[in-house]
């Protein structure tokens, strides 16, 4: 049982991941853009953050940088969950790892099952 923050602007994907997480018995906190994510993080401290990159208002990298600035959140694993292309992935992966990301997943490559497996592994349950 973990508290998962899902930062995702696509409502269908939110519904999909949330359905799976709920099914597995996890709590899902949803933020639909970067700013909302950072605002919510002022009040909650999730066990893990699943972070999209391309989002309105503030992109995932900015959000990630802000998160890593906050000492209380530094230990919260962040998994980047994106649909950026392969070429960007190469570039972004490097950047993401430099920013201290836990994992980097391409959404279309993974079923929700596989995602939850990664989450569980990351939070250690």
């Amino acid at each position: 049982m973990a508290q998962i923050m899902l930062v995702e602007d696509d409502a269908v994907l939110v519904e999909m991941y949330a359905a799976k997480f709920e099914l597995e018995g996890h709590e899902t906190i949803v933020a639909t853009d970067g700013e909302m994510c950072l605002r919510l993080l002022e009040t909650v401290k999730p066990d893990i953050i699943l972070l999209d990159i391309l989002m309105p208002k503030m992109n995932g990298f900015h959000v990630l940088k802000e998160i890593k600035k906050r000492t209380e959140l530094r230990n919260v694993p962040v998994i980047l969950l994106t649909n950026l292309g392969e070429a960007e992935v190469d570039m972004n992966q490097e950047l993401a790892h430099a920013l201290g990301v836990h994992d980097y997943l391409i959404k279309s490559h993974h079923t929700p099952d596989e995602v939850i497996a990664k989450v569980k592994k990351a939070v250690g349950i």
Partner: protein
């Protein structure tokens, strides 16, 4: 008359010592003539002093009889004296009968030889007469006569002596020969003799000649013997004695050779003069240059007309393609047509086709006269024909030679004109290309200064023509890095000029005059002179800024579209996976089966999007490899393990050939994994059930070769090339169920090649295929900086 002095002598001799008689006696002694007097008894009664000299008479001879005197004389001078004395005795005998004799004899007297004229006349009033002998020494005369005879015989000229009436008195053989006269002509009028033998033409009237000679003048006459065509010089000299003409001497010599030589010399001089004029005209022709063709041709026509003294001249040039000779120039009087077809039965066409001189004559009409056509040819290539016409006089060898000389010069000119027009046309075409092409063309000299700059170059660099000309190449075509750092040193212009190297499509970012940056592709080419030295160079600048922008837009477009596709595909995949996993309750068998099909189809779409993105990044060059030394065994193990379950589903066994430890290779791990997955996955897809897919690794030279072999249906060699092209899928019974995007092998090939490797396939239809690729070994790479 002859008797009278004898009488007086006789009387003088009788009248001794009378002063008159003494005078006579002295005179007689001094006479240059020898005198002997015989009386009727033939006793020598008198002889004068000269007789002593001429005959050798001595005082004792006087009073002796003729017989005795004769004996004594012969005794004193033996030899010819005997004959002389004999003759004298005969003459004296004759005179006793009243007959005079006149004899000329040669006689030796005391060793002196003389010619003597002996005149013996009867002395006395009636017979028997005595004899008066007169002796005249004519030795000198005889010698002179002999001299004259020898002279006239050997003089080598014809000599004739005439009396004042023009009657021949003597002539030598030479004269007879010169005038081809048969017989003796002495006693005949010389003019008649000559006129009878020869048709003679004198350079002056015969009356005039006669008048001149009779006036005592030496007269020079030239005569032409018409039959034998010989020329004579006759010198007529009157010999005057006491103001009267006593005889006329005429000498003649054959001057035919002289006259001929003179005529020849004159002729040569005349011809030399003509040649000189022709040569100077031809020289003028050679100096005619210039590219105003009409004018140039006209000059040729005028010169030719003057050289050949022909009023009509025309120049025809063959126009390729038209099968026609076209008149490019003609004098006003020229009458031949403007165009002559080669198939026409025209002497001009014949001249062109046969490349030979043709002459003809038109008898009647406006264009009557002699015509001559000579081909205008240069090194066996006939360019046209030059025609001269309208001459009443036929054209001879010399005219042909002249016209050929003109044609030779004209050929050079025509060839030059053709070349010029050709070059000009080419130049104009190139000029048009230079002006209107979108490619920037910059021409630079040996010192890399700009000497040519076309409008497209102006558009690309923003420097005007005036600003660019004379500037160093890299000051105008300014290479910069993306950060705007000047990269002039990186310009290959030195290499082009220094090494004569050509460089194609070098990507280069340029800074324009107004500070913008523009991506270009520049090709450089050196320009060589005939000895192979680089004299200049040309740079062709292709503005690829737009291409790049379009490429970027395309790439972005693909990326965005792919993105937008990925999100719904992710949703489908995610929801379906949950449903199939029965997260939300049971499914009946059909539902499960069909939803599994939907899931598979969705997965193919996801794969396609991935492949399209890969192809897009490969083609835009965005794919960046991160090659590192890598142990391939681990990676291959992982891939085989990953795909083993898929193989198992299809009853296909994956077999990894075991090897001793392999050297490191140089590769991007992520991409190499992609290559391996692709190839092994393909092998599984195209395998028949219950077969083996084997993966082998081996080192070949400086490369590692990875082979993936299946036991599937195989591929026809005809399709090997096609396999690696975009969407170049080969359709076989397996491909339908195998699925796939048709981009996999294209991507694999590009990734392998990006690593510096190669990929190939071997196959036997019905037996299986083997895909192999090579990768460079890590140790092969030189260390940085070495």
């Amino acid at each position: 008359m002859p008797n009278r002095p004898a009488k007086q002598l006789d009387a003088a001799g009788a009248a001794n010592n009378s002063p008159i008689a003494i005078d006579f006696a002295r005179i007689q002694e001094l006479l240059p003539t020898g005198l002997l007097v015989f009386d009727t008894e033939l006793v020598l009664t008198y002889f004068n002093a000269k007789t002593r000299e001429l005959l050798g008479c001595v005082d004792a001879d006087q009073g002796l009889a003729l017989e005795e005197v004769a004996k004594r004389l012969v005794n004193r001078s033996p030899g010819s004296m005997a004959a002389f004395v004999g003759q004298m005795r005969l003459a004296v005998e004759q005179s006793r009968k009243g007959t005079s004799t006149n004899t000329e004899l040669e006689v030796d007297t005391a060793g002196v030889s003389r010619h003597l004229q002996m005149i013996v006349i009867p002395d006395g009033a009636k017979a028997p007469y005595g004899a008066l002998v007169s002796l005249r020494d004519v030795t000198e005369l005889v010698i002179n006569q002999q001299k004259m005879a020898v002279l006239s015989a050997n003089i080598g000229e014809g000599v004739v002596f005439l009396d004042p009436q023009g009657i021949v008195t003597d002539c030598n053989d030479e004269w007879l020969q010169l005038f081809e006269l048969d017989g003796p002509i002495v006693g005949e009028p010389v003019a008649d003799v000559l006129a009878a033998a020869q048709r003679i033409e004198y350079d002056q009237d015969q009356e005039h000649i006669a008048a001149n000679v009779l006036a005592g003048k030496r007269t020079n006459v030239y005569a032409h013997l018409k039959q034998s065509n010989r020329h004579m010089q006759i010198v007529v000299t009157p010999v005057l004695v006491g103001g009267e003409i006593s005889l006329i001497l005429a000498t003649a010599r054959d001057i035919t050779a002289l006259i001929e030589k003179t005529i020849e010399a004159n002729d040569m001089a005349r011809r030399a003069q003509r040649h000189l004029r022709e040569l100077s005209e031809l020289a003028e022709l050679s100096s005619i240059i210039g590219f105003n063709n009409d004018q140039t041709y006209q000059k040729y026509i005028n010169k030719t007309a003057s050289l050949l003294q022909s009023s009509g001249v025309a120049i025809y040039i063959y126009r390729p393609g038209s099968q026609q000779l076209v008149r490019v120039g003609a004098s006003d009087e020229h009458l031949l047509p403007e165009r002559i077809s080669l198939v026409d039965d025209s002497p001009v066409a014949k001249c062109y086709v046969t490349a030979r001189t043709v002459g003809w004559y038109i008898e009647t009409g406006n264009g009557s006269g002699h015509y001559l056509a000579v081909p205008i040819a240069v090194s066996s290539k006939t360019l046209g024909v030059i025609v001269v016409d309208g001459r009443t006089r036929p054209y001879g060898e010399h005219d042909i030679r002249l016209l050929k000389l003109v044609a030779t010069r004209l050929a050079v000119l025509v060839e030059n004109i053709n070349l010029y027009e050709d070059v000009n046309a080419r130049r104009e075409r190139w000029e048009a290309v230079f002006q209107f092409t979108d490619e920037g063309i910059v021409i630079f000299d040996r010192h890399s200064r700009i000497v040519g700059f076309n409008p497209a170059s102006v558009r690309i660099t923003r420097y005007s023509l005036a600003e660019a000309l004379g500037q160093p190449f890299t000051k105008v075509v300014r290479p910069v890095s993306e950060e705007g750092v000047d990269m002039s040193m990186a310009s290959p212009i030195r290499k082009v000029l220094g090494e004569g190297a050509a460089i194609t499509d070098a990507e280069q970012l340029l800074a324009t005059k107004n500070g913008d940056q523009v991506w270009t592709q520049i090709s450089y080419s050196p320009v060589f002179d005939s000895s192979g030295r680089v004299t200049s160079g040309i740079a062709i600048i292709h503005d690829v800024q737009k291409d790049r922008e379009i490429e970027e837009i395309k790439s972005d477009f693909i990326s965005i579209v792919s993105h937008e596709l990925r999100t719904p595909l992710t949703a489908i995949k995610g929801f379906l996976s949950m449903i199939i996993q029965k997260d939300f309750g049971d499914l009946n068998e059909k539902q499960f089966h069909f939803l599994s099909r939907v899931y598979q189809s969705n997965q193919r779409m996801i794969d396609l999007v991935e492949d399209i993105l890969d192809v897009s990044s490969i083609e835009s060059g965005k794919i960046k490899l991160n090659p590192q030394p890598l142990a391939i065994e681990g990676l291959v193990n992982e891939v085989v393990t990953e795909l083993a379950s898929k193989g198992f589903e299809r009853q296909i066994m994956l077999k990894l050939g075991r090897r001793k430890k392999l050297p490191l290779i140089l590769a991007d791990e992520v991409r190499l994994r992609q290559v391996m997955i692709n190839l092994v996955d393909n092998a599984i897809k195209y395998s028949l059930p219950n077969t083996v897919v084997s993966v082998d690794l081996k080192v070949v030279g400086e490369e590692l070769v990875v082979s993936i072999a299946d036991q599937g249906v195989g591929i026809s060699p005809a399709n090997f090339e096609r396999l690696f092209t975009k969407f170049g899928r080969v359709y076989n019974p397996m491909s339908l169920q195998a699925g796939g995007t048709g981009l996999g092998l294209y991507i694999v090939k590009n990734l392998v090649e990006s690593h510096g490797g190669r990929i190939w396939v071997t196959s036997r239809e019905g037996k299986g295929s083997k895909f192999s690729f090579s990768l460079p070994l890590a140790r092969q790479l030189p260390l940085l900086g070495s």
